[in-house]
Amino acid sequence: MSARDDDVYIVGAARTAFGRYDGEDNELAEQAVRAALDDAGIIWSDVQFAVGGTNGETKPDNLVSRLGLTGLPFVTVKNGCATGGVALMTARNGLIADAADIACVVGYDNHARGAFNASPTRYGIGDWFGQTGMMVTTSYFALKIQRYLHDHGIDPRTLGYASEKAFAYASHHPYAWRRTPVSVDEAMDADMINDPLTRFMFCSPDAGAVSLVLARGRRAFDMCDRPVRLASVALRGRRPGSFEVFSTWLSPGERTSPSIDAARAAFAAAGITPADVQVAQLQDTESGAEIIHLAETGLVEHGAQTAAYENGDFSITGRLPVNTDGGLLANGEPVGASGLRQVHEVVRQLQGRADGQQVPGAPSIGFTHVYGAPGISACTVLMAEGE
């Protein structure tokens, strides 16, 4: 294997446990960065370019006050649920554009309990939208999956299958937050939050941090026995016809999605098709999102999800293990960390050192997908490569 100068590899990966955290946001982020540096066998002064993402109020670039004032360029990103994917893309682009060798990416958040409480004004909507109780993320997800189930004739029980799978994976994962198995019946019969979604079908905002070390070209093979190539990363925004959170109106006609566009772009850039993927991470903010995103990314046909879950396709020994760390449903969503958690999990699966259940058969091609407000998606294709 001869690495090209503009190939970018992940050579170090670390995460904290996700859940509630009483300390400072920056302290959490620092833990992840130091662990990722250790994993890559380097120290902070080796890092030439850094990117940090959070959806909170702290400043990622001020992490240098804890890690060391080395003078490196440190870019901050804040792109909602897609923050992790954008941070990774920014670091990759930085390595290529600046011909730097080593970059560090960190994503973190430490959210208050309960559903996110977005401000109508920040989204350019009148106060009436919040005053009348429509500025609620959970109702958006419910409205979207309600229509999707209708359009594709999908049994609502499929929502329970997604929940059961997530918590089953999490019960084996040391860093997941909610690790108690939940049966399909328990998921279906739990308190209704927003029809058709129950309490066990939503992720909750929580705390966590993830960090990755990237290296460019041959340097990656000097640093790591089993570097994982970032074969592609693609970011896309919404086009007319997409159905996004806090939409006062929708256009009739064909539905589009930034997830469809980002996934297509990522597969094309990597030179593979969805059928080549052996382990995947999808944005499962709630169970319905996983069902929709399985199809929007091209991994499963629209309407074929129910049979695939029933066939065990997405379990650890199935055709395509999905969200093998329990996904957002079991890890919660520290927004800035969530996309990097996905990459972390796939990297470790491809390196054969999964923290939880290891996908058998030495998978070599992985895929990650984040999606978030106000209608953006970032996807990556990751490939295991030996020297």
Partner: protein, 134 residues
């Protein structure tokens, strides 16, 4: 008690109650509330229009927990919201009268009490059942 609406700019008229959207002269797209430009084709030749007052439930959910502020209510009870297909545009709003709905059933625009503020009853737009599903 006087009746006021949450935001007068949402309405073309109050009697009869009609929502005020805008239509793009270039591509024909309708949006709600009215905007000064078209997000579909980026055109700026747009004009305010009264939207149809009848449509069909395009999707629905029932809000079972009380939203955080700025949500206003006199006393919380679960309520339904939905997207209603009005033809040229699909509009999000309250579905009033019950908490279980069927996609495709006909509904019509009404005003509904949202919360009390001093002597005023603040109303918002909503959709109520207009008969059985197709």
């Amino acid at each position: 008690m006087t009746v006021q609406v949450v935001d007068e700019t949402l309405f073309h008229s109050l009697d009869p109650v009609l929502l005020r959207g805008s239509a793009c002269a270039s591509c024909g797209a309708h949006v709600f509330p009215a905007m000064g430009s078209c997000p579909m084709c980026t055109g700026t030749d747009v004009a305010d229009v009264a939207l149809p007052a009848e449509g069909r439930v395009w999707s629905w959910t029932t809000q079972h927990f009380e939203p955080k502020p700025p949500f206003r209510t006199d006393s919380f009870a679960p309520f339904s919201i939905g997207y209603v297909d009005l033809g040229p545009v699909i509009v999000e709003g309250w579905l009033v009268g019950r908490t279980q709905w069927t996609i495709g059933e006909p509904v019509r625009l009404v005003l509904a009490h949202a919360w009390t503020e001093g002597d005023a009853s603040i109303h918002t737009f909503a959709f109520e059942s207009a008969g059985a599903a197709r």
